[in-house]
């Protein structure tokens, strides 16, 4: 395997890891505020569809982005209504959100475009094009660092850079601002926040809305950056892998970057080398596909450092009377 191939695989890992990263950070806001969210998959799918559909009709990827994020946020609102206002079971609500997206997107896609549940192929301004960073072509021939800059770092769509920027931003918001302190407190000990005169309900709705935006961006990237249009069930379990990455990262933003890029890398490798021959055994592609889930179970089991979720996670808050 030469250097160029390694760069290509890493480049592909970044592309495949980006939707995971956005969804993972989305889940991080929600779960840190005490709202479990297994509906990331559905939100991404909804966003992928609406961005694909609107971008196809208007030919404008930015309008697609708005529509996609709107679709994702509407599901986030449903989840908030169920888990905050009606104090329902957050896991059941997440399951419902996923099915709602899965059925609704195909239903509407078929009714609008009659192409068997997909949207028309996007081209031109309908997609987020790769951005060439300044000087990328100039340094192309510099040994080692040149290809890294021009082929790996440069040449992604704007959403990839947004996703990476979200990592320090998320860290800063959560751990260096008053809002972040309150948000984490709502997820650990909502009574204390309530005692301080801050509305738990409002904090949780805000967190769920941020989740909607970020998961939406992940879905938008799938339909308008990674692919050229929406295809039925195109999230293909990415929302669940993001959930796995979130646990793997123990609900922290910087490790979330590491986890999602690791899972992106696994996908990139299995796309390129379906069966990996290690001499003694051959790792089949099915094993590579299952690795994120197996790793998550091992982490959850606490054999490699324990993953402890936010303490008030999953519990509706009932104000004492």
């Amino acid at each position: 395997m030469d250097f160029g191939t390694i760069i290509e695989i890493l480049d592909s890992a970044v592309r495949l890891g980006t939707p995971l990263l956005l969804a993972c950070l989305a889940g991080l806001f929600s779960e840190r505020a005490g709202i479990f969210d297994i509906g990331l998959e559905g939100k991404m799918l909804m966003a992928a569809f609406f961005s694909g559909a609107v971008a196809a009709v208007t030919g404008n990827a930015w309008l697609g982005l708005l529509a996609g994020v709107g679709g994702s946020m509407s599901l986030a609102f449903v989840h908030g209504l169920a888990s905050i206002t009606f104090r329902g079971n957050q896991l059941i609500s997440g399951v419902a959100v996923n099915f709602l997206a899965s059925g609704f997107t195909v239903l509407i896609a078929q009714s609008w475009f009659h192409q068997g549940g997909r949207t028309p192929q996007l081209s031109g301004n309908g997609r987020f094009d790769p951005i060439t960073l300044p000087g990328a072509e100039a340094v192309q021939d510099v040994p080692f660092l040149g290809p890294i800059y021009s082929n790996l770092i440069s040449g992604h769509s704007i959403l990839v850079y947004v996703a990476f920027a979200m990592v320090p931003i998320t860290w800063w918001v959560l751990f260096r601002t008053r809002f972040g302190l309150r948000l984490r407190a709502v997820g650990e000990n909502p009574e204390s926040v309530d005692t301080a005169g801050i509305s738990v309900i409002r904090m949780r709705y805000t967190a769920v809305a941020i989740t909607g935006v970020l998961a939406g961006l992940g879905g938008v990237y799938l339909a308008t950056g990674l692919a050229a249009g929406f295809v039925k069930e195109m999230t293909a379990g990415r929302g669940y892998i993001a959930l796995a990455a979130l646990i793997f990262a123990k609900w922290r933003p910087v490790p979330a970057l590491g986890a999602t890029m690791l899972f992106g890398l696994l996908e990139a490798i299995s796309n390129r080398y379906p069966n990996i021959d290690l001499g003694v055994v051959t790792l089949p592609i099915q094993f590579m596909q299952a690795v994120p889930y197996i790793l998550t179970v091992i982490i959850l089991a606490g054999f490699i450092g324990k993953a402890i979720p936010p303490r008030a996670g999953g519990q509706p808050y009932v104000k004492e009377r």
Binding site: V97, S111, L300
Partner: protein, 365 residues
């Protein structure tokens, strides 16, 4: 404090929630430019209007009874088993291995062996998440989700690399021997003449009904069932009463996984006569809706499974006869889960306070 009448809890609220789900689905149908009344007519005539329709409706219902019971049993121990899909997938593998291992002389013996194979594989797939929950506190919802994906990968590997007959491109096992084919409704005395040969409903339907009865006995008439319910109501109280949490979580989840695995006698042994990729087709997830709708009671599960069997078959007919894709059923399923599960308090709170107020007013009068 007065309690609300039982019929409100078991009938009125679920039916109202179902009604809301259907009304919203009707609006969705209107929005995509179709006629909801016509859609209902197509579904009813397609699923219930002929013995052929019933043959499919009951076939689907059989799947959903098993997966619904699986979710219900775990739920009584306050465990949310979202892994029915993976457990049923592995159950299919168990059934296929049993049926391919031995030239079974008669379907009755083959059925008993296949039931054992399906239940053991299904239970085994629930065992690791159950153990991790009981011993190490790993959240069972997340682990069972992960095991759904791992299960799909295992089945994919087994079909592509191990069980696929030599020379076949299709990722599926060889066909099971003709002597293992279960009698379908067509083969039954008296009623057989009404059902055509292609109808997939088979004796598994009666196994499913038997399973409903046995689950009822287990939950409400045995010591283990009592312990499961006690644990589900209050873990700390059960602990003080000397009930072992590890034992209850393990027992409830193994039974749950076993029930999900049993589904394979219907779809794999009874219908496909071989194991193919994605043979479960989401039935594991529909079990969640069925258990919620049926209030986790075996009789409720039975009725809800019939309802979803009807929706499934009716949805298929809808896709054939109108331009409405069968994903409409996924939307209905999602709305049923949403309203009977997550939004349950929306109606429950006002309705319960209404009945409590009425009862109190009567007492004063």
């Amino acid at each position: 404090m007065e309690k609300t009448p039982k019929w409100v809890d078991v009938a009125l609220i679920p039916l109202l929630n179902l009604l809301i789900a259907f009304v919203i689905s009707g609006i969705v149908v209107l929005l995509i430019g179709e006629d909801p009344i016509k859609a209902i007519k197509v579904m009813v005539s397609g699923a219930l209007g002929s013995p052929y329709g019933w043959g499919y409706t009951l076939y689907y219902a059989t799947n959903f009874i098993f997966t619904g019971l699986a979710v219900a049993v775990a739920y009584h121990a306050s465990q949310f088993n979202i892994g029915g899909e993976g457990q049923a997938t592995l159950g299919g593998l168990g059934v296929a291995l049993v049926l391919l291992a031995f030239p079974w002389p008669h379907w009755t013996i083959a059925l008993i062996a296949a039931m054992a194979g399906g239940a053991i594989f299904g239970a085994a797939w629930a065992a690791i998440p159950a153990y991790l929950q009981a011993k190490r506190g790993s959240h069972i919802v997340i682990t069972t989700i992960m095991f759904n994906f791992i299960g799909a990968a295992v089945l994919n590997y087994m079909l592509v690399n191990v069980l696929r007959p030599r020379g076949s491109m299709d990722p599926a096992t060889a066909r099971f021997g003709a002597s293992t084919h279960l009698p379908t409704f067509h083969d039954f005395p008296l009623v057989g003449q009404f059902f055509s040969k292609s109808v997939p409903a088979n004796v598994s339907f009666f196994v499913a009904i038997l399973a409903c009865y046995l689950v009822w006995v287990l939950i409400w008439r045995t010591k283990l069932g009592f312990e499961i319910r006690a644990f589900g109501r209050s873990e700390s109280a059960a602990r003080y009463a000397g009930i072992s949490p590890v034992k209850i979580v393990m027992a409830a989840m193994l039974i749950s996984g076993g029930l999900a695995g049993l589904m394979a006698i219907n779809n794999v042994m009874g219908e496909a006569h071989r194991l193919v990729l994605n043979s479960v087709e989401g039935a594991g997830f529909i079990g969640i809706a069925v258990a919620l709708m049926g209030r986790n009671h075996p009789f409720g599960v039975f009725l809800a499974a019939l309802l979803f069997g009807f929706l499934y078959q009716g949805g298929g007919e809808l896709a054939l006869e109108t331009t409405i894709p069968r994903e409409l059923i996924t939307v209905i399923q999602a709305l049923v889960i949403l309203f009977t599960g997550a939004f349950d308090n929306m109606l429950r709170a006002p309705i319960e306070s209404f009945f409590v107020a009425r009862a109190n007013a009567r007492k004063e009068a």
